[in-house]
């Protein structure tokens, strides 16, 4: 395979990013939705606006735009939008509403004697993990696990879900930087909602501005360094 693009180059739908030289691998059309590429004839093409990512003769596209599509084991932040007899329905910022079953939250749940509204009401934010999803049925959530459950303090902010990988960074580098420099607690939901808890209002303000900057400039090279300088400059001012 001959790759025609540079690493982190911006690509658009219909761009040819690689040519397959092996004649046996040529197919009419084969789609790889997770990599955002498809093969047509001997050409590898992209299906979204994104950044090309090259890893040892393997190429894929990391999208710059797009809605959040649930994946099993993702941590997400959702808001309760409706209450059933035995479950809550949460808006997780995705085309598919998520279901949180009552027995996840309440031990020995009995729908006759218990009212779900006493545990989680409409408008409450919940940090949860996706346990099951296959596109034919709505995603199912769990709150059993460290750090999961109802949000009772702190701030929730919303960013584009497609920018979440950049906010976390390679092996969590960006998130580590943010946590270390500000001393705040941060939980990033894969669906684009981020929970923050800071001891100081000013630090929170700088942290939110830093996250907004990452969101707007996620395709920029050397962003981690840029954010490090941004935090040093702005945090110095507020504390001094």
């Amino acid at each position: 395979m001959k790759i025609l693009v540079a690493n982190r180059q911006i690509v658009r739908p219909g761009d040819v990013i690689a040519i397959i030289e092996d004649k046996k691998a040529v197919v009419e059309e084969r789609y790889f939705p997770d990599k955002h590429i498809y093969i047509r004839g001997n050409r590898v093409m992209t299906d979204v606006v994104g950044l090309a990512s090259i890893n040892d003769n393997d190429v894929q596209v990391i999208p710059l735009e797009g809605k959040y599509i649930p994946r099993v084991d993702d941590v997400v932040i959702g808001m309760v939008v409706s209450i059933g007899i035995t479950n809550w329905i949460l808006d997780i910022n995705s085309p598919y509403p998520a279901v949180l079953n009552a027995n996840e939250v309440i031990e020995n749940f009995n729908p006759i004697t218990m009212n779900l509204r006493d545990y989680l009401d409409i408008g409450d934010y919940v940090i949860a993990k996706i346990t099951a999803f296959d596109r034919t049925r709505d995603p199912v959530l769990t709150v059993k696990g460290r750090g999961l459950g109802k949000i009772t303090e702190g701030t929730v902010i919303e960013v584009k879900a497609s920018r979440i990988p950049r906010i976390i960074g390679k092996k969590g580098s960006m998130l580590n930087l943010l946590t270390q420099k500000t001393g705040c607690s941060i939980i990033v939901g894969q669906n684009g909602l981020i929970w923050l808890r800071c001891s100081d209002e000013n630090v929170l303000d700088v942290l939110i501005r830093a996250i907004r900057r990452i969101e707007a400039r996620s395709h920029v090279r050397g962003l981690t360094e840029e954010i490090r300088m941004f935090l040093d400059k702005n945090l110095g001012k507020t504390s001094g």
């Binding site: 739908p13 219909g14 939705p33 955002h36 047509r40 979204v48 085309p95 497609s162 920029v220």
Partner: protein, 243 residues
């Protein structure tokens, strides 16, 4: 209101607005112009000005329209009441319903709709000013808006019309040329995968003229396609240049 037919091809071989037969009108494009939509685009082909907005994939309302195996694609092509010389009734006309359908079908062949079952992708195309070629401008704007929304698609579709006026095949006809010409053939073309996603023909062309017209349209669409790619790229380059 019938006027006398104007001179469409002047003695020097140029058209009534001074263009060569294979010349496009001045084109302007921008993406991400609306912050409330998931994706948006604004496109101008000369005097034709079109705004497109895309929402989705999102939950389908009303629920019973949802498809179990793929996304529901809905498209509304609409002309603003102030887009024409005489006020156009804002209610969707027979023509607008037809154009919504052909544009939807053109885009449906490009979008990977089976990726998002039980959801809808809604496309709104609003013609702000009409001067011929509104469906092709609309298709161009809609594909840019879809790309801006991050919806996976095989390729972008560029729209352009070819007409026959005073016996000459010309690219990207405007209102006057459409009204007094012999034929109007709008096409939607996806150059990277070499597929025609929209083709209509009003008027009469011989088979030979049709072949030539198609070649001319593909050439024009490819030029527009290049601009579309640049426009999508520029949105991110602009952020790079600002501090």
């Amino acid at each position: 209101m019938m006027h006398e037919k104007p001179v469409l091809i002047r003695e020097d071989g140029l058209r009534h607005d001074g263009r060569r037969p294979d010349e496009l009108r001045p084109i302007k494009m921008e993406v991400g112009v609306l912050s409330n939509a998931d994706g948006s685009a604004y496109v101008e082909f000369g005097g034709t000005k079109v705004l497109a907005a895309v929402y989705g994939p999102r939950e389908v309302h009303p629920r019973h329209l949802a498809l179990p195996d793929r996304a529901l694609l809905r498209c509304r092509y609409h002309m603003a009441p102030f887009s024409t010389m005489d006020r156009k009734s804002p209610a969707p006309s027979r023509r607008e319903i037809e154009l919504s359908k052909v544009i939807r079908e053109a885009l449906e062949s490009l979008i990977f709709v089976d990726l998002y079952p039980r959801t809808s992708i809604d496309i709104f195309i609003e013609v702000l000013q009409a001067d011929g070629g509104t469906r092709t401008t609309g298709l161009t704007a809609a594909s840019l808006a879809l790309a801006d929304a991050g919806i996976p698609m095989r390729d972008l579709a560029a729209g352009v019309a070819v007409g026959k006026i005073d016996g000459v095949l010309v690219l990207d006809i405007d209102e006057v040329e459409d009204e007094y010409g012999e034929a109007d053939m709008p096409i939607g073309y996806a150059p990277s995968i070499d597929e025609i996603v929209l083709l209509q023909l009003n008027g009469v062309l011989s088979l030979d003229e049709f072949r030539q017209a198609l070649e001319l349209a593909k050439k024009g669409a490819t030029m527009i396609y290049k601009m579309m790619k640049e426009t999508l790229h520029n949105k991110y380059l602009r952020i790079l240049s600002e501090e």
